[in-house]
């Protein structure tokens, strides 16, 4: 079997953890598997390098920042190969240049274009564990690039795709994907499997186990992901395309996102193009809009409500204030103490009763629903932030998601 294993920065933060990771990789290697390891920079290295750069030049070019940052992963992979050698196993580290991980030239947020697999295959054929720098690439000019948030996960998935790996294990500090955050819902259960689409919804809703980007790439190339912990040997959660519906529930899990705020623009003229004007203005300033609700207002006007990330709220309000007249609005309102709670499940597509059951559970708990949004595999409600935990538990129970 060819296994790609990815470990984040906290898993290689010091000597002990490096040896822990080395041991785990060697376990698979000794079973006769080909093992490719993708690593992030150790612990806080990237933050430290960014701070050094900021001290010298807060407006440093992104090209030079990437040239600086990529050293972090190179240190990790060299030390990891040394640790494996210390444990008697032949290992070799490779950086983005040596593998040839081609990206575009968007320094800091580069997109992988193509990964040459020859060097990796040659080293595997020579009986070595291959340890590769995550998060980085090389552009057409031979310059170093970094992939931005979730970069190392993306590297691991891309390498797994390029090598047609049998599996791609993503090691995190949790041991899988849960039906809900166990800190909030104590009887939450670890899911043995979720589909790519469900995983994407989980990630969007703040369950930051995997970055969306890596899941999208895994989906595109059919790479089977396994999310598991570097601290124990639990099975983890498999993320793949076809999850057997026979053995699973309608709903996979409940997730919440408290980084949300509601804005209402009130008394808009009821003519075409008004909604477009508002959302276009916000989009131009990189403000993403989530749930949208349009309703009839007084005297033939209309009201539009929508949610934005809390972190975007002030920018959004400023834009609305500036453009109130051009939006033909009378006034606006906003609400910060709100949150989204969602149920996610590939099984709900063909089951019309799911939404009703969720709303009933919330109603029985006296939780008021402010807005609703649905996709094929997700139902999201906006509620008071104060009700989030109660809502999660109620919904979790209603769908019988907990462990026995």
């Amino acid at each position: 079997m060819l296994i790609v294993k990815k470990f984040g920065g906290s898993s290689v933060a010091d000597k002990e953890r490096i040896f822990n990771v080395a041991q785990r990789c060697i376990e698979d290697y000794k079973k006769g598997h080909d093992v490719v390891v993708v690593l992030s920079a150790m612990g806080k290295t990237t933050d430290h390098l960014l701070a050094q750069a900021a001290e010298i030049n807060p407006a440093a070019s992104k090209r030079e920042l990437d040239m600086l940052l990529v050293t972090g992963e190179q240190v990790s992979v060299a030390l990891m190969a040394m640790a494996m050698q210390a444990l008697g196993v032949n290992a070799i580290s490779l950086n983005a240049h040596q593998v040839m991980m081609h990206t575009n030239s968007a320094y800091g947020t580069a997109k992988l274009r193509r990964i040459d697999s020859m060097r990796i295959r040659n080293e595997l054929d020579a009986g070595k564990i291959v340890v590769i720098t995550g998060f980085q690439g090389v552009n057409r000019k031979d310059d170093m690039t970094t992939l931005g948030r979730g970069g190392s996960d993306t590297t691991a998935v891309a390498i797994a795709a390029a090598l047609h790996a049998d599996k791609c294990e993503i090691y995190t500090d949790v041991d899988g994907v849960y039906t809900a955050d166990p800190r909030i819902v104590p009887n939450a259960r670890k899911l043995p499997e979720v589909s790519y689409s469900e995983m994407l919804e989980f990630a969007t809703l703040g369950a930051k186990v995997l970055h969306n980007r890596s899941v999208e790439l895994a989906k595109k190339y059919g790479v089977e992901l396994i999310v598991r912990s570097s601290m124990n040997h639990e099975e983890g959660t498999i993320v793949k395309e076809d999850v057997k519906l026979m053995e699973r529930m309608l709903v996979s899990g409940v997730a919440a996102d408290e980084n949300t705020a509601r804005i209402s623009v009130i008394g808009l003229k009821d003519t075409p193009g008004i909604a477009f004007r508002i959302f276009n203005t916000l989009a131009k300033h990189n403000i993403n809009i989530d749930i949208i609700l349009q309703s009839v207002g007084r005297d033939g006007t209309k009201d539009i409500s929508f949610t934005v990330a809390k972190t975007d709220l002030q920018d959004a309000l400023e834009l609305i204030r500036e453009n109130l007249t051009s939006f033909t609005a009378e006034r606006y309102e906003y609400e910060e103490d709100v949150a989204k709670v969602s149920i996610i499940g590939a099984g709900m597509t063909s089951n019309p009763g799911v939404a009703a059951r969720m709303f009933e559970a919330l109603s029985n708990s006296n939780i008021n629903i402010k807005m609703i949004s649905t996709s094929e595999i997700r139902i999201t409600v906006l509620i008071d932030q104060a009700d989030v935990k109660r809502a999660m538990r109620a919904v979790h129970d209603a769908f019988d998601l907990g462990a026995e």
Copy 2:
């Protein structure tokens, strides 16, 4: 003019020094020159990385050690380019991969084979200061290598040769090459010029301004070197092929080397091949032999004396003890408290009186000469270590080397 400037690790050890170096480079850039900068790793970075590696695996492969070490210079060049950008100048950093500095595969002690100049020239043509990682290269397998001791000086000279640079400035913590160590000979004078050969003799004798390897390379490709300080704007010393004899003295300077010890092997059978047997044994164990003296012993035997580095003394003595019988020797003696004092000067070749004047100066100071060795441009004597400073001053005076 195209100028290559090389700065060592202490010159870029912190933010202030980085900006100091950036300013110096920008001065030349603003005069309209093309500027290429070669940097070592910041301060103690390389030592720190080596310590990290030793903690993980004291027997780490040299390939992985080099993979680790090269990150040090990459951090330096990225931060330097950022500093130059902060000062409003267009700058770009390049590592060994981006330049393509080809070396052989002797990890840790790699030899440069060829430097591609296209990328550097393109960046210079685009009006940028080009900041390049010293000390490192890439082998045929695309693996990172390091050049070993004096590596960054060697990189600078090789780049100057590849680009046909007008000059190659090596910035150190002294402001040039002196007629003697000013800490020992207070009226020592800075030399405006020395020849490559003289510089090589100075370096061999412990005046560690430039590493031999970079001087040899400069000599081979006719690269004019300038040794100067990064802390002041003094002119420095030019190292080149043709130093005008008209304007200069017979002797350029006096140097001492206290890392030396004398061994005598006594009572050897007077047959051919005995000396060869001794020196071959030592050479096989990488022990370099310096001054050699053979003399007639008692009863038709002979004695051979030679010097080795103090750091090699114990190894050498052990080898001699082990092989005493096969060397046909009666016994051996050794002396640790000795030192070499040399005069160096391209002018002495055609002046037979030079050696006599040196010996006279030492004799007048009651300093006993134990051994003598000469080359075309050097005369070396072995004396008691305790006499070194007096000897240097006496010889320095005898050749009138001091400043008026």
